[in-house]
Symmetry: C2
Subunit: 468 residues, 2 copies
């Protein structure tokens, strides 16, 4: 990077908010997905005005810009693939307001998701989106990727809780979308267009989030099944009997065994599947619904049902589910975490397809995730240094995407496309569908400055995990 | 219209699905807003393939195309302002599927909203969006305008229930957005971009709608206030005490008097405001919440509270609210129905601003609407033949928009922009904000064929109700 650009960035921000040494830049070259890409410079703005000035500079000099939050992306969103400027938003982390009268929170993008959740709860309110990384990820990253989580089933995902944004455009102009009201039909709805656009259309500098009253009670049930197909039928049975659980999670046999090897939780290692069902709402409704869910599970050959008798037991039941991710990385160092999503009625079929993929490509495939909304997490555990294994992983990943789309689903439910799924976009969207997205990118960012190499496949790009 | 174009439309569809006589065209020249604009030809497609062929023809010949559903728009969306082809979607009205396992309905756009609601209820499910015109409007129109309704408070608006679309692009290509899963982050979220775009970006030919379990119980409370400000405080009090009502509606004194003059319902004509609160959910929760809401109203000097003791009484309480619209049109023949929306905490202030506007411009202004989400309906009753009065109405309308924006709100909560609010877009969005929307329109429809003269103001356009 030319010294005068560095100097200009320092003038816009501050000497200690511009990092240009190799070791500092290396710290911002990776995320929780694959590959490392060195930015030429890292800058930490503290206001929308600074972000706007940085964008104007980048626009004038045609320098690529990649925005970044906590760096927890599983799809490559924050990777500075084309080098240039990495804009790290973590110092814009203020909770500007929790407005109880209007049930909204106004936040800067760098706030940690769990911090917002806690502050909303302290005000008797509830911010439902709950990505697993909530204790370390930022709201800005959640917005850029339209993050989901277990609560998606009942409460929807990040985009359902955003009613307004302040955004810096690729040309460095500050615009506002939406506003302080849930109802707003003044022109095109740019808010959900920017949410999930992975920082390719603008940089979010402020968000107005919708909060809801905190549910009065909740409880959890664990059901153990000898047959995965039965667990799938039980899930469907619960949902078609008027119950909308807050969460409904599944772990397959490989997940159960990985957890019990890592930190024994007393789960039966011979079970084919375990499902966890949490309901929330009025205490009487919670009690009735948890009993009804248990009765429905009985109809589908459940081996064992545990209903939490208190909050400690409820937390205990969720412990195993939370341990799946750390547990499986003990097996091998490289984790490819997918989030292919299918209509929930297709979950048993998707499990069958995943079993076939595991056998055909001889990969270590573990399946768990958000069964209630069809958002599974097939994780492949491998060793990136083993090229032969990675070739099989590459093929298996392609087959997972193909299976999801053939079953009426989608490449990605909540992780985003980034670099990790771009080559498969046309398979789901068709040439014209993808072109209509590209037209928006070109209309907003004709020089392709903002987060290039994301979402849209590069010419000839076919691989996602193999680099050689 | 050239005879060979008519002939080509007949070949694409059928002789009896192409109307070109003056009287037939006149029937499709207006909606529920202002002005009449004759289309050159009216065509009734029965499939996406036909819509695509019509668009390819229009694209080749650069003929304006205006899609239309039930024609109930209050903002001018279906008006064929530039003539050309009116595409009426009412024959594509099939309910293709209610999928109880996946909690979705797949519909063609011409289905009447109430028909879908009834069929969902028959399957034990619930489609919450409830525009007042639901017995005559179409889902396609609801999608195009992102329709709202009283349920917006608890359940959100149309866009929150659409997970996938089939759309014919301005170039006559058929694309699909989203899909059968609630979670989907595969590229830009085109679904909510098309929803509310008023037929300017594409023609919706199929929609995948999300349904939810039907609430087990519901009840309604009516509270009568001597002071509008107190009613506003009661509304805020209910919402900040952990209750999220299904609906929360308000009628001002002018609305109450109009209804009692039209069809007496036993409401006190000297009351300053009446609010209706409906809660739904588990029967025990409903009972508790309705009592708690009553207690909260007591704190704010309520004159009288009625709680429905059965379904008949519940319907009786809602009767007056439903009569407001027909009642006020008895006063004078022309109704200008606005939907300026403010943060709900600003409702008392908005009422005060509306009172000032009524006095200053000496207009017959009636206010009712969805108080819980800040979506008020200031309606001006006038006579379009009285030019002097319409000049005052024109100014009053501008002042209503200005008040809403100054209080942090928006021009339109649920009716859309169409022709009726286009001149005010820049006031809310700023030059750059509006330009970012225009860039999308230009990228998708460079020849401006699809529904021209909507959303974006024409050069020099300043008036919305005055035509001379």
């Amino acid at each position: 990077m030319k010294p005068d650009i560095i100097q200009e960035l320092i003038e816009i921000t501050d000497r200690d908010r511009v990092l240009d040494s190799l070791d500092e830049r290396y710290s911002y070259s990776y995320d929780a997905s694959f590959g490392t890409f060195l930015p030429d410079v890292v800058v930490f703005p503290t206001s929308a005005a600074e972000v706007a000035k940085i964008m104007k500079l980048a626009c004038r000099e045609k320098i690529p810009v990649t925005p970044r939050g906590g760096g927890t992306s599983l799809s490559g969103g924050p990777l500075p693939v084309a080098g240039g400027i990495a804009i790290v938003m973590t110092r814009m982390n203020k909770l500007m307001e929790i407005d109880r009268d209007n049930l909204v929170a106004v936040v800067e993008p760098g706030i940690i998701t769990a911090d917002l959740q806690k502050k909303a709860e302290a005000a008797g309110l509830f911010y439902p989106p709950d990505p697993s990384s909530s204790s370390v990820c930022t709201i800005g990253g959640n917005l850029a990727e339209n993050a989901g989580g277990p609560h998606g089933l009942k409460y929807g995902v990040t985009k359902h809780y955003v009613i307004g944004l302040e955004v810096v455009t690729p040309q460095g102009e500050i615009i506002r979308t939406g506003g302080m009201t849930v109802k707003n039909v003044t022109g095109y709805d740019l808010t959900p267009l920017i949410i999930g656009s992975e920082g390719t259309l603008g940089i979010i500098t402020k968000a107005i989030l919708r909060l809801i009253p905190k549910p009065a009670a909740r409880n959890t049930l664990m059901a153990v099944f000898d047959d995965l197909i039965d667990s799938g039928r039980a899930i469907s049975g619960v949902l078609t009997n008027g119950i909308l659980p807050a969460k409904m999670e599944i772990m397959d046999n490989a997940s159960i065994r990985a957890v019990e090897d890592y930190m024994p939780c007393g789960m039966p290692v011979d079970a084919d599947a375990i499902i966890l069902i949490e309901v929330d709402g009025h205490p009487v409704a919670v009690e009735e619904e948890i009993q009804k869910a248990a009765e429905i599970c009985q109809k589908y050959n459940v081996r064992e049902i545990k209903i939490a008798q208190n909050e400690t037991e409820r937390e205990e039941l969720w412990k195993a589910r939370k341990l799946v991710s750390p547990a499986i990385t003990r097996v091998k160092p490289t984790k490819i975490s997918e989030d292919a999503t299918v209509p929930r009625s297709k979950i048993p079929e998707m499990f069958e397809r995943l079993r076939q993929i595991r056998e055909q490509y001889n990969v270590h495939l573990v399946v768990f995730g958000h069964a209630g909304d069809g958002n599974l997490h097939p994780n492949i555990i491998a060793d990136a240094r083993d090229i032969e294994e990675m070739r099989r992983v590459e093929e298996a990943v392609g087959e997972i995407f193909k299976a999801a789309i053939e079953l009426g689903g989608t490449l990605s439910g909540e992780h985003g496309i980034g670099t990790m799924k771009a080559p498969y976009m046309e398979m789901e969207l068709g040439t014209v569908g993808l072109d209509m997205m590209r037209r928006i990118k070109q209309a907003w960012d004709p020089d392709n400055i903002l987060n290039p190499h994301k979402i849209f496949p590069q010419p000839g790009q076919t691989r996602v995990v193999l680099t050689q």
